[in-house]
Every structure is written in structure tokens, then in C-alpha cells.
């Protein structure tokens, strides 16, 4: 990393820091960088920035780096960090707020993170269409979009044999109602894919 012009970053992105604080509902300024979140996080091995670094970067207004990092997508929302933070910072909520902001900003997450976003979209896509998640569709769509055609495919057959994959989606009667929820949210918030 290059030397960071701290005051410029903080001043330039004060809005960003504030917005993440509000959207996540978390007092990010309280974090004293003890690292307990990182120490307990099950996914640090796959993250580019560690959870405590993410919080630090929010404090310093490092918006660009955060919105295109993998960590916020890799985070499984397990809330181990939240449960143990001594400063009452719900780190998982901060991750969530960053995820939402990154999604809306339209940046494609790099590396592994890309598939996570694709999967989220696929999942919600089936919900919007049918009112419920449609598992076969989800797996296939995900594989197509992410370009990993055979990911999980070798598992698909045994699953099908056990009657665990339905080939046809079940549609909720109120599917239109669910679709309307998506539409309204999009109207209110904009940017939800």
C-alpha cells in the first residue's frame, strides 16, 4: 500500500464514514482496534482486508478501497465479531452496509467475491420471480453467470436421486405481491439489482 494521505482521505470521505455509521447503525468511531473481530472471524484466510482493518478503513474514510474489496462479500454474516466486540461495534452490520453500498455503486467485486454477488442476485432473482427460492434454478443460474459451469454439478445428480432437487419451481400464489415488494424497494432505494 502506498502512503495514505490521512487528512485528505478523512476530509474527502467524511460523508462516506457518516453514511456507513448511519446505515449500519454502528458507532464505528468507538473501535479501538483490538483485533478481537479478526481473531474470531472464520474467514480471514479468504479475506483481502481483515475485519478490524475494514473498520479502521471506515474510520479513515477509505471508500474506494472498501467498495472494491473482497472481504465484504466473503464475510458470511456469522456475527462472531459482533458478539465479541468489546466496544459494542456490530462489525457484521458494518460489513452488510458496505456490501449494500458496493452493490449499489455498481462496482463488480473482484476475485472470489464476484461469485458471492452473483449468487445473491440469483437467489433473489428466483424469489422475485416465484416468491420462493428455486434451488435447481439457483445452482444452474449461478454456474452460468459465474462461468463455473461444473461447480457443484457433480453433486447435483446424487441430490436429484435423493429427491432433494425439484426440477420445477413452486410458485407462491402471492408471487405478484413479492415481486411488488422488490419493485417498491427499488423505487424507494434505487439501485437494487
Amino acid at each position: 500500500m502506498e502512503s495514505i494521505n490521512v487528512n485528505e482521505s478523512i476530509v474527502k470521505n467524511a460523508d462516506f464514514t457518516e453514511e456507513i455509521g448511519i446505515e449500519s447503525g454502528q458507532p464505528v468511531q468507538k473501535c479501538y482496534q483490538c483485533g478481537k473481530c479478526t481473531a474470531g472471524c472464520p474467514l480471514t484466510f479468504a479475506m483481502d482486508y481483515k475485519p478490524n482493518q475494514v473498520i479502521r478503513m471506515v474510520q479513515l474514510g477509505m471508500k474506494d478501497e472498501l467498495l472494491k474489496c473482497q472481504t465484504i462479500w466473503i464475510c458470511s454474516n456469522c456475527s462472531t465479531c459482533t458478539t465479541r466486540c468489546p466496544c459494542n461495534v456490530e462489525v457484521a452490520e458494518v460489513m452488510g452496509a458496505l456490501r449494500i453500498m458496493a452493490g449499489k455503486s455498481g462496482t463488480t467485486p473482484p476475485g472470489k467475491a464476484k461469485y458471492v454477488e452473483v449468487m445473491y442476485d440469483a437467489l433473489l432473482g428466483t424469489v422475485e420471480r416465484f416468491g420462493r427460492t428455486y434451488e435447481v434454478g439457483l445452482v444452474m443460474q449461478n454456474n452460468l453467470k459465474s462461468g463455473k459451469l461444473f461447480n457443484n454439478a457433480d453433486m447435483g445428480m446424487p441430490m436429484f436421486q435423493r429427491g432433494k432437487l425439484k426440477l420445477l419451481p413452486t410458485k407462491v400464489q402471492g408471487a405478484a405481491e413479492v415481486a411488488r415488494i422488490f419493485a417498491e424497494v427499488r423505487k424507494m432505494e434505487g439501485g437494487v439489482k
Partner: protein, 287 residues
């Protein structure tokens, strides 16, 4: 006890055994599970990453329908659905502005009068004597590692019925079923289910840790309370073996399956046949 029951999207797919065994066990315990009519997806953890509003609105539609059923409590087996419903319930009760906004778009306004319980809690609070009286084939000698994962117990402000660091609800139920429960290290470590589809390479490393701890504690099987956890630990066990050169073969059950077994319900009825790992081992221990 009557509950409005939310099956969750995996109910007749990946979580089939859970659905079967939950209903079978509930019947034995005199619990009435009334399915929420025309329920829809709660958004699981995907909407959490997309929009705060959507994340509340999707479960709230279901809460709104459930409220109309005139049953005060909602329960669900899936830990992810449970967390979604509990979270939305808390926010809808606490935040009037949000409630109004959400109600304006779901078509099923929710006033905020319900309690949301995980099926683990719902069964866990049944009088122990009632459970014991139904146990006809105690799981004597079966060493069970009870696995809670994340969403059932965290964050405690939303879940809160059990200790987030050393939860005991499933353990206590398994004890009543006659099993030996183990104090093991990874009860609440995340299994990475949310990455199981998108990043299996990452997920297998998380699954590996949990399976290793269960095996180290000398468990005969793992008991779970979430279709996602089950999918990950059961289905993906092969992937772990293949990708990481391991040779795990530890059966993974829904806690309701094991409880049902102790109540004399036939393994087929509980869905033992559709597991990916070998369930015969356990059946032979129990006899």
C-alpha cells in the same frame, strides 16, 4: 402448544428430512404446527447483502400473514429463516417508521404482535417429562456433537434464547433422548454455508475445521438444526475429502431426526435414506 409454522424454501428440497422429522416429533409432543398459508421466501442471508429494507420486508410479509392466523407464536426449523424472521420482528416492533414503510409495500401489514421462536427453542421449552415420556428407544451410547452454527445463536440481541458461546438447548434435548452429548470446541463456529455454492473452495476449509473437531471429540454423529448447516456438513463432506485429501465419514442428522428415532419413529419416516453420509453406523449403535 400451537405455532404458526414457516417451512422455509428448503422444506421439500435439501431440507426434506428436517421437515419430515420436525412434523413427526411435533406430533408426538402434542405440538401443533400450522403452516403459514402462501408463505414466501424470507430472503435468507442474501437480502441482507442487498438492501436493508428488502431484508425486513420479505420476512415481514410472512409475519403479516401469520398475525392474521390468530396464533401468537411463529416457529421455523431453518436457522437462517429464524434469524430473518426474528430480526424483522424485532425491528418492526421497535421502529414505528420502519413498520409503516414496510407495511406500505408488503401487502400484508404486520402490527407487531408475534413472538418468533426457533424450533429448537420451541421443543427445548417443552416440559422435559413430556419429552422423556415419549422416548421409548433411548439413544444410549450414542455420542452426539451438537452443532448450532451461527444464525441460531447470533447475534444475541436478536436470537437470545440460548448462550451464544456455549449454547445447550440441542444438547439438553439430545440428553433427554438418551444420547451422550459432547463438550466440543466448534459448536458455534460458522460452517460457511453461504459460500457453499459460490466458493466451495473456501467453504470446504470451514467445514473441515468443524468435522475435525467433531471427530476429535470422538463423536458418532453431528446433530444440526438448520438445512444450510446440514447441506454443508453432510453433502459437502465428500468435497472436503476430495479437495483437502481427508476421509471423513461422519453422519450428520437434524436433531429432530435423532429425537424422532428415540421416540420409536421409523428411520424411513424420518428421512434417514436421503442423507449423503452413511446413517447405518448410527442406527447400528442405537440398535
Amino acid at each position: 402448544m400451537r405455532y404458526a409454522y414457516f417451512p422455509g424454501c428448503s422444506y421439500h428440497g435439501t431440507g426434506k428430512e428436517y421437515e419430515l422429522s420436525t412434523h413427526a416429533v411435533a406430533k408426538k409432543l402434542g405440538m401443533e404446527l400450522v403452516t403459514i398459508p402462501d408463505w414466501s421466501c424470507c430472503g435468507a442471508t442474501a437480502s441482507h447483502g442487498k438492501s436493508h429494507l428488502l431484508n425486513i420486508a420479505l420476512p415481514s410479509r410472512n409475519l403479516g400473514i401469520a398475525e392474521g392466523m390468530g396464533i401468537g407464536e411463529v416457529t421455523t426449523g431453518c436457522a437462517a429463516c429464524y434469524q430473518q424472521l426474528a430480526n424483522a420482528n424485532k425491528k418492526m416492533i421497535e421502529n414505528e417508521d420502519l413498520r409503516n414503510k414496510v407495511n406500505s409495500i408488503t401487502g400484508k401489514p404486520y402490527k407487531g404482535t408475534l413472538k418468533v421462536k426457533s424450533i429448537v427453542e420451541a421443543i427445548g421449552i417443552v416440559d422435559p417429562e413430556t419429552i422423556k415420556s415419549q422416548v421409548v428407544k433411548p439413544l444410549t451410547g450414542l455420542k452426539v456433537a451438537c452443532y448450532y452454527g451461527c444464525l441460531l445463536v447470533r447475534p444475541p440481541e436478536i436470537t437470545g434464547f440460548d448462550d451464544p458461546e456455549n449454547p445447550m438447548f440441542i444438547d439438553n434435548i439430545m440428553k433427554l433422548a438418551g444420547a451422550e452429548v459432547l463438550d466440543w470446541a466448534h459448536k458455534t463456529e460458522c460452517c460457511g454455508a453461504s459460500l457453499g455454492v459460490s466458493n466451495l473452495d473456501v467453504a470446504v476449509r470451514m467445514i473441515d475445521r468443524i468435522l475435525a473437531a467433531a471427530v476429535e471429540s470422538d463423536a458418532d454423529c453431528i446433530a444440526v438444526a438448520c438445512p444450510f448447516c446440514h447441506l454443508n456438513l453432510d453433502w459437502h463432506q465428500k468435497s472436503v475429502n476430495r479437495k483437502l485429501g481427508k476421509s471423513y465419514d461422519i453422519p450428520v442428522f437434524y436433531f429432530t431426526e435423532l429425537l424422532g428415532l428415540s421416540m420409536g419413529i421409523s428411520p424411513d419416516e424420518l428421512g434417514f435414506k436421503t442423507h449423503f453420509t452413511d446413517t447405518k453406523k448410527v442406527l447400528s449403535v442405537v440398535g
